[in-house]
Each structure stands twice: as structure tokens, then as C-alpha cells.
Symmetry: C2
Subunit: 499 residues, 2 copies
């Protein structure tokens, strides 16, 4: 494919993409193919001779599209959104063209420096405390990771390293030191609540450290509070375990609960005072709901200033801020914690800029070595929409969630809200005479609305209650789509409750 | 930005990208900006109101390009290539448009299924043993990771899990089991040679397991051989350490050495017979040179069939196979090893297809949860170029490396080849009366040629010898560019040797 061929192919791809977005609501949301559908449609081997773009492109609509679940469809009310926008697609396009494995500053200074600058922009827009800025007093800063899972893993590795550095006596050497570290490792425990995203548990598995779940329930709206945390810390001390890491969540996956940051800080201060050796690293997982912090009223309501007592904070631009996957933005209060834990040197990467210590080498802030130019799309999105444009989008889709919950509340004959609306998420079920009937009815409703193909909701289980999660934060979702979804819920529920 | 605005913006971006590629050789290879250059050019905060695309786009050439090091420049002879091609850029474009966090099959069946199919295509094209195919007898298969570092980490987590499962007595329960595991962990050691990529050491740091370096030297051309491995295994037994993981390399970072796969297999069989509990997991890191396996003559020369005795194999399409970063292709002999180690369930991800066990959920084959539609670009590249097209490219650029080495060899008055040519990489230095003079002269040459701006080479250190790495495998590099690079080496070296 030469430059002329590429121009033609690219324009035709752009037209196909525009057509896709403009007519998205005519497609079913979820793919209905059978497992293994694609293998039957494709040859068993790569072609020996090259094929024309025309032949390749026509397979996208013919073979790929039937197998696509449309995350940007106005009827996508599942999980959390993961939507692109036109400016973010342009960012990915330029990033692909400027391909490089930009692990060091010199590998493309712009890749490193734009990332530092736009993550400072983002931290300010989110109202994060100054300690998370690269220019802040504690030498913090942000780095783009591929996902919130990589962010929590990176934070946990740094936390373990910091904890061992602070608690294994510096005078120990050789075998005695190895033994002391092995003993410590066997006692260290990472904490998360029963509603924390599973990525914290997965990180603990990867690190090979213990993991303990703190039970949280409906009484506290599924959020972590000071007394519950204090009780867990006491239990750890009793059992000789050493907590070194806690994930606190702003917007849990099931219900968008917000943990009590001030309460967490106070319970931890009673355990090991902050800033003293052996303190518990607190990572704030704001993967989805962190986006809403662009609105000052959300900064206030969540008391986001409290996170200055914590160690790392992560949110995904690729969920609710109009940026295509992947762009998980991880901020740390002291960047030396990452570098001390993750820096591994090799002669072939030696260069004057890095060796001089004047620049950031983001490979020392992450698990992988190489990295894409992901800050371009964040830059394009922040500039194209402007902070006010992002606020308007968050407020509009949050409002849709409140309206939906309002309508649900009016039909007490059919529905019961379990949690929310919180950050455009309402969790609800169908009424019934007992838990078994409620669960059975709710599951039938869930299957019935999804079977329409016009919308997709996902489910969760809260204290034994099967529940439907209804999310209204996809950009293309308008009031009419939510109304229509509600009507579908009502019609199907009426069939179930009064057959 | 509406659809019309996007069409205009995208076409103008495509034109800028074409212009970039068509005129790449007029730019200096490496950016010459000073650290901190970009912050001075950008506002301190994101704009409140959105900006026009025209304003955003003009900043790419004005502010970003000066900070770009051009990895696709014909004079890029550094590290290894990391180049895009037009078809791969189109793949990234569609992938961005179809954004979704495709962790489960149902999240977009096509994302999972195309990945399985094209990785089977790739495995066949590379001549990998059948055990690494998804359709093979051992239930193996491939998964796309972000980088070779993530691949080795994923493999090591699975290896640790497998080793503990096999060696900790199943009858132990509760505290006794915890204690046995803690003891095992403290003895387990991951092995790599002094020339293995640092990502293996980084993975060991992340896992919190011991790491041991096997020294390899010039006598063995920096490759791992049976006797050296056997000696290390004996040392481990003596010290009470338990090796559970070894990285074998096809094309080391410094010199493109190929470890002796048959020798490794034989030394390991003497330690713990393959297939018996406690066997050492062997991960083959073929990040760069694995691409050359598309040529049957390379499959033969490297005896690639031997890797059927090993456990995982990784190569990067994004280095030497015309695919933009990131596309690291990791193959495993038994996919259950990944799933057993990395599967963590959460109610919100429950769905009929996954719960029925009929489909692949790639989140269980990797560290992150969410994932991009990366197989599209691999599909486009394999189809656009065809396997013969890729072979022609690998052979042409390998040949350039041989020619370069031939010219270097003819100037014994100036140069000495330390290793190669191997996979388009020649490692060489300037002659001198002793090591100190050779190193000093080589460093001066290295700095002088890079100062021209017309080419970029990187360096390494081999047994105390500072050496220049000259790579000729970027797609845009033609014979004329290599000739011109050689002339530059000669001119600058003559000034240094005979001032």
C-alpha cells in the first residue's frame, strides 16, 4: 500500500466509521453470534500473497461487525461506558503513525513531556490535591497506564517495596536480611472491601501477598467506613498480619459507592500514623466515577481534598471522558516510590539525558518497558471539548440517571431501588413476596429486556439479591433512549408481575 | 466535532501523516530539544472552552514534532525498530472507533475470536510447533499483550502458580499450607542470562521472587548453552534454591544471540524431567528476532521446532513486522496454566457465554481486565503484505545487515566486529592499542555519528567493551541509507584513529 493507496483506503475507512456512528442506533446493541462463528468465515492460514484493501475492508462489515457488541450504542447501559469521541480517534491515528517504543525521554521527548503536562491539566481539572501534580511540593505526578488493573498493580508493587524498605531493619545483611524479608512477605496483607474491584485481588495474586476482604454491606451503602476498617486492622494485629496496602474506591463497580475517605484516614492514623514507617499505602480507585470530578460540585460532595492523605489515585479517561480505550491516568504523591520499586537498568538503554537524571523515564513508573503516545488523545479531548464541555456531558448523563431513578421510584408496584442513582448508575430489582421470588423475577426481567436487542444492561448480586445495573452515561444516550428503556422495563415487568 | 467536522479533520490528518512519511528523511532522526521544552510552549491548564481542530492540529507540527524522535526514519539504526505501516495504522483507526473494554467474549465476540484466529495464523507463519496453536493437541493458543515485558510477567505468574500447585503437598491445609507456601516462595528462583532482557528481572521483582543471573560470555557468543545452565542448576541445588522459571532468548537485545534450545532442554531434563511436577517453565523471548521466523530458512537455522519442549513463546509484531506499537504475541502450550493463575471472578462480569465455559475470556490470560481490539491491525498486516511480502521485507533488511558487516570487515584498520551480523544487527567498535583506547575511540565515534542528526545508533557494553549496535531493519531503510551510514562511520573513525 503506497501513499496514494493509503489516502484512498483511509478516506474510505473514515467514511465507514462516520456511517457507523451516524447509524449506530439501527444495530442491535449486543452481538448474537454463536461461539466459534468467525473461524468458520476465515481461512485457516494467512494468505501467502498480499490482498487488496478493497477485499480486506469489505470483511469488516461482513465478518467483524456481526461479532461486535456496540459499547457506544445509545442503548448500551451495561458495565460502565468505554466510548471514543472523534477527537480521541484522531489522537489514536496520529499516535499509530508516530509509532515508537517510547520507554525513555530521548526516545521521543514529546511523548514524555506531553504526558506530564496533560496529566497535570487533568489533575487540576479533577480538583486533585496539589501533591498529585508533577510541579507539586511532594514531587508527585501522573502517568498513563493501560488499565485500572495495571494502575493498582503498579501502586501495590511500589507500596510493598516502600513497606519493606521502611520496616526491615537497614542493618540486616546477607542471609539474615533475606530471612527477615521472607518473614515479612509472609505476613503482609493487602486490603480491599467486598465491593472493591477484583483488580486489587488480582494484583495481590500477582505479587504473591495475602489478600483480605473487608465486608461492607447495605447498612453503609456498600461503602468502607472508619469503624469497619478499624475492626479489620485490629483483626490483622491479632493474627500477626501486617496490612501494607488498601484500595479505597470512588464509585464501586457494582453500585458506584464512595468510600469514606476522611474515615479511612482517621482509622489508619490510629493504626500507624501517616508518614511514619510502616504506614498503609492507600490507593484510590476512581476508574469510572473519577471522571465526574471535572464538576466542582462533585469535588465537594466526595470531599476529594481528603485524598491528599493517600498515596495514589487512578481514573480512566476511557470510561466516562470521551476517550477511547486505553487511557488510565495514575497519579502518585511521590514519584520516587515508583522509580525505587520499578527501575531496572540495562546498558543498551543508557543515554545522556537519562544518565544525567534531568528527565522523566516513564518506564520506571510502570510494568512494561515500551509505551504508546497515549497523551495525544487526552490532549485532543481536553482541548476539543474544553473543561466546560466535559462538565456539560457529565451533568447531562448524571441527570439522565436521576430521571430514570425517579421514574423507577414511582412504580413501587413493580420495582425496588437497591442503590443509587449514583454517578448515572441505578441498581434495582423487581418486587416480590420473598427474596427468591424477587431474584427470579429480576432475572427474568434482565433476560427479557436484553433479548430485545435494543438495549443492554448487566447485573450484579448484592447480599444475595440479584439486581439490574442501569447506566446512562454513554455519550450517544439521550433522554428519549432512557425513556424508551424505562418503558421496556415497565412492559416486561408487568408481564412478569401480573402475567 | 460533528461527523462533517470529523471528516474534514480526519482527511487533513491523513494528508499530514502521508506528508510525514513521504518526507521523513528530510528530518533529523533524534529530537534535539532540551528537557522541559514543551511545558514552556503550553498553557498551565486545560482550556475551559473547546478549541477548534485547526488550532489543535497546527500545534502538532509546531510543538510536538520538534520533540519527536523518528523511529521510522531510514536513518534509525538504534535499539530495534518499532515501525508502523499503512495497513496497521488503518487497523488502529478502526480499533479506536470500535472502542470497548473487551474483557469477556460477549463484550465483542469478534475481538476475542479474531485474536485467536490471527494468532493461529501467525504461529503457523512462524513455524511454531503445533502445541502453541489454539487447535493443537495440548490446548494452547495465543494472546496479544501490550509488550514483551507484560508477556514475561504473565508467563512467570503462571509458572509460579503451576510450580506451587505441583510441589506443595495437596494434603496440607490451613496454616500448615500457608507456611509451606511461604517457605517455597522464599526458595523459588527465576533464572535468566546476563544477556536476557531486563524484563525478566523486573517480573521477578514484581512477583517478589529471587532472581539469578547466569553469566554468558563471548566464548559462547553470548548465548546460553547446556553446560552453563547445568552448572547454574547445580549451584541452585547446593544452595537449597528451587528454579521454577527460565527465559531463553531468540535474539538478545545486545547482540541478537540465540540461546541453544536443544541444550537447554537437555540440561533441564537432567534436573527435573519435562512434564513431571516441579519442572522449570521455559519462556522463549523472541521479541525482535522472532519476526524472522516467517522465513523457513530461519526456522531451520534456529531449530525452532525444539521450543515444543518449552512452555511459552513471545514475539512482537510491533518490532520487525510492520505493525505499530503495541502487539506482543504470547503463545502458551496449555492455556489452562494462564487461566488457573489469573482468573478472578466478580458478579458484575457474569454472563451466560462465560459461565457456560464455551468461550475464551482473554482477561484470564493477562494482567489487565480490559483490552483493545489489537488483532485488527495484525489481520490487516498479514493480509495486506501476505506471508511472502513479510518474508521479502525480512530478507531484504537482513541482507542489508550482512552487507554492512561485510564493509566493516574490510576496514580492519578502523573497526572490529564484536558480534554479528545477526538478524540485521552488527555490534562493533573502533580498533586501538588496548581496551581503554578502544572504548574511548568507540564512544567518540558513537557520539560523532549521532551528532550528524542523519542517523541514530545506540550502544551497549560487552565484557567491558563499549560497542556500537547498528541495526538495518527499519522498513524505510534502503541500501543507499546503509551505504551513507557506513561512509559516515568511516569518515568519523578516520578522524579519530588518524587525527
Amino acid at each position: 500500500m503506497d501513499s496514494r493507496g493509503f489516502r484512498e483506503a483511509a478516506i474510505s475507512s473514515i467514511d465507514e466509521i462516520i456511517n457507523y456512528f451516524d447509524n449506530l442506533d439501527k444495530r442491535d446493541v449486543v452481538s448474537t453470534v454463536e461461539p466459534g462463528y468467525l473461524r468458520k468465515l476465515l481461512p485457516a492460514e494467512a494468505p501467502l500473497e498480499g490482498e487488496s484493501w478493497t477485499d480486506i475492508q469489505k470483511d469488516i462489515e461482513a465478518k467483524i461487525m456481526p461479532g461486535i457488541t456496540h459499547w457506544q450504542h445509545p442503548g448500551f447501559h451495561a458495565f460502565f461506558p468505554c466510548a471514543a469521541s472523534y477527537p480521541s480517534i484522531l489522537g489514536e491515528l496520529y499516535s499509530a503513525a508516530l509509532s515508537g517504543a517510547c520507554f525513555n525521554w530521548i526516545c521521543s521527548p514529546a511523548v514524555t513531556e506531553l504526558e506530564t503536562v496533560v496529566l497535570d491539566w487533568l489533575a487540576k481539572a479533577l480538583g486533585l490535591p496539589e501533591c498529585f501534580l508533577s510541579t507539586g511540593p511532594t514531587h508527585g505526578g501522573g502517568v498513563i497506564q493501560g488499565s485500572a488493573s495495571e494502575a493498582v498493580l503498579t501502586a501495590m508493587v511500589a507500596a510493598r517495596d516502600k513497606y519493606l524498605r521502611e520496616t526491615v531493619p537497614a542493618e540486616l545483611e546477607g542471609d539474615a536480611r533475606e530471612d527477615a524479608i521472607a518473614l515479612k512477605r509472609s505476613r503482609m496483607v493487602a486490603l480491599a472491601t467486598s465491593r472493591t474491584h477484583s483488580s486489587t485481588q488480582k494484583a495481590a495474586i500477582i505479587l504473591g501477598v495475602r489478600f483480605m476482604t473487608i465486608p461492607v454491606g447495605a447498612d453503609d451503602n456498600y461503602a468502607l467506613t472508619a469503624p469497619v476498617l478499624a475492626a479489620t486492622l485490629a483483626k490483622c494485629r491479632e493474627r500477626g498480619l501486617e496490612p501494607f496496602f488498601l484500595t479505597a474506591t470512588l464509585g464501586t463497580t457494582d453500585t458506584c459507592a464512595v468510600d469514606d475517605f476522611a474515615g479511612i484516614a482517621s482509622a489508619l492514623a490510629d493504626h500507624v500514623p501517616p508518614g511514619t514507617p510502616g504506614e498503609v499505602w492507600v490507593h484510590v480507585d476512581a476508574a469510572y466515577a473519577g471522571a465526574a470530578l471535572v464538576c466542582p460540585e462533585v469535588q465537594q460532595a466526595t470531599r476529594i481534598a481528603e485524598v491528599s492523605k493517600f498515596h495514589s489515585f487512578d481514573m480512566n479517561m476511557h470510561k466516562w471522558l470521551l476517550t477511547n480505550f486505553d487511557a488510565s491516568c495514575l497519579f502518585v504523591r511521590d514519584r520516587a516510590w515508583f522509580v525505587q520499586a520499578l527501575s531496572v537498568n540495562q546498558a543498551v538503554y543508557s543515554n545522556n539525558a537519562s544518565d544525567g537524571g534531568l528527565v522523566t523515564d516513564y518506564r520506571e513508573w510502570q510494568i512494561p518497558l515500551g509505551r504508546r503516545f497515549r497523551s495525544l488523545k487526552i490532549w485532543f479531548v481536553l482541548r476539543s471539548f474544553g473543561v466546560e464541555g466535559l462538565r456539560a456531558y457529565i451533568r447531562r448523563t448524571t441527570q439522565l440517571g436521576e430521571e430514570f431513578a425517579g421514574w423507577v421510584r414511582e412504580r413501587k408496584d413493580l420495582f425496588e431501588i437497591l442503590t443509587g442513582p449514583s454517578f448515572a448508575l441505578t441498581v434495582f430489582g423487581v418486587v416480590g413476596k420473598d427474596e427468591e421470588e424477587m431474584n427470579q423475577r429480576t432475572r427474568r426481567l434482565y433476560e427479557a429486556v436484553n433479548a430485545t436487542g435494543k438495549m443492554w444492561v448487566t447485573s450484579t448480586v448484592l447480599d444475595g439479591r440479584f439486581a439490574i445495573r442501569m447506566v446512562t452515561s454513554v455519550n450517544k444516550t439521550e433522554r428519549a433512549h432512557v425513556e424508551s428503556a424505562f418503558q421496556t422495563f415497565v412492559e416486561k415487568a408487568e408481564d412478569i408481575v401480573r402475567p
